[in-house]
Symmetry: C2
Subunit: 305 residues, 2 copies
């Protein structure tokens, strides 16, 4: 039994009002894999990098108990690179550069040892590639969580809708929920999206928390108010990884457990934004994670009889 | 012992994507007074109207148990009138007309029978008039809650800061908290504002809920996701009125009770936006209110051991 994470493993160069980085390690599978590893010890990744990707970073994955057999290293090629600059509000950003490199013809090979996958996290990628991974698993996983973004709605809506049909949980932000459904009200948007395939929809609202929709039920999770958001890159991937890692740990798929999973995912995401890149979420102790989860409990609990 | 509400009692003409109204009754004291009346039976209002204001509407206040001795009716003058049009997102609006009329030289007279005021709600008004009310009460109320808006920050910041010094709880929205503090982070904004006088700060975030700050504690309250927001006018006033009405009912001022008060205020505000003007909050049953509060409990509860 394992948790399979597919997504990018890549380089980012980030500029925020607090500073800027050279090329540092990023990518959806990096963040999601690291986050999931705090809750579940059989995390495996499928991704592709060039031979410019440092072996020491791959060793870091392994140090977190992450299986990297499915991480292809392409000789003589370069890793995916993204560069962006955040605005002062930290909620919007400009993309300065996107170099697909190895990602341009990524063929996600699933090692035989990965066929025990019970939990599948489809990190943000071409919907076609996400779908290929589902098709290449001999048994359908117990839980498929898919992250995506507006970019694919703009250029590959057909493929996206086909892939969405195949998953259990979709995670998108509020603007993307509106774009995907054509509804401004998030309640109406969720109702529509829940007819497209997923049984659960998570709408991520950044500093405003997240909403989970399932049948006629809604759960509203807070975000931890932070004095400083240092670098929001990877927060959504970290959230998704923490979410599915917690679900794999508890093992039963239901609304009750998903509410908790959202709190655990939010807790990890709140760490992610405190430093550049993966710096913070690479080096957490279990005590830090559980203290942060308790901060969420404190933040949102009230007693009405 | 009583709860005194000061604010506007006025006419509004409202246009939303769902329709438009002729002149209907509105005003901060109207919404806050009605909301408070669901939790506390000694609500008294101080406000001013012209003789164009229908006697039947004043009778409606009395039917809700609201004392109107402090509602001045100016012969031969006209009531305050505001007209606005909401944009499609319902979060922004254009003011089409503002006619101050009786409000231009409002002198808030406190009837002798109002001197038993223990809870004071300063609805959005000129900070100078809000301050006058505090000064005209012989005994300082046990709890003073003040609502205000960016307009006063633009044109009367000095007066506003002086009035803020005198209150216990300040309620403003996120943009206003940023404007008042000069800080983008709401945590930093709150820290600064809590040095300006209030011991409690409530930041209203509309569809994203509300945050309560006190010392180093934070409470995050959800907003009920609604399929349709019909008319947001008065939601903030209704929230504030429900908040202080609940505080008056429980009688002990502390963080724990304020968390519940925010939920009760949010529940009433969620009704307010379902119809034009005061239509919905004029006609609620206790069962409807308590069902709605339970919906908030359901919405935000999770169990992590």
């Amino acid at each position: 039994m394992s948790l399979l994470v597919i997504g990018t493993v890549a380089f980012d160069a980030i500029e925020t009002p607090f500073g800027k980085t050279d090329k540092i390690v990023g990518g959806a599978a990096t963040y999601a894999g690291l986050a999931a590893s705090y809750f579940y010890d059989k995390v495996k990744i499928v991704a592709v990098v060039g031979d410019d990707f440092p072996e020491s970073e791959i060793a870091d994955f392994r140090a977190h108990g992450i299986d990297t057999e499915g991480l292809q290293v392409k000789k003589g090629e370069k890793s995916f690179f993204w560069s962006g600059k955040y605005h002062n509000d930290m909620n919007s950003r400009d993309t300065l550069a996107t170099e697909l490199n190895v990602l341009a013809d990524f063929d996600p090979v699933i090692p035989e040892s990965y066929q025990d996958c019970e939990y599948l996290m489809l990190g943000n990628l071409t919907p076609q590639v996400q779908q290929t991974v589902i098709r290449r698993l001999k048994d359908r996983p117990k839980l498929i969580v898919m992250d995506t973004m507006n970019f694919w709605m703009d250029i590959a809506m057909g493929d996206l809708l086909e892939t969405i049909k195949m998953v259990d949980v979709l995670t998108i932000n509020d603007a993307e929920a509106r774009q995907l459904s054509g509804e401004y009200s998030l309640v109406k948007a969720a109702r529509k999206i829940l007819t497209m395939g997923p049984k659960y929809l998570i709408i991520k609202k950044g500093e405003h928390g997240a909403l989970l929709f399932h049948e006629d039920k809604i759960f509203s999770a807070p975000a931890l108010p932070l004095a400083e958001v240092f670098d929001p890159t990877g927060a959504g991937d970290t959230f998704a990884g923490g979410f599915i890692g917690y679900m794999a740990k508890v093992g039963t798929v239901n609304f009750h457990n998903m509410k908790n999973a959202i709190i655990f995912g939010s807790a990890l995401a709140s760490f992610c934004v405190e430093k550049f890149g993966t710096e913070k979420i690479k080096n957490l102790t279990d005590a830090e994670v559980s203290d942060r989860v308790q901060a969420f409990v404190q933040l949102s609990s009230f007693e009405i009889r």
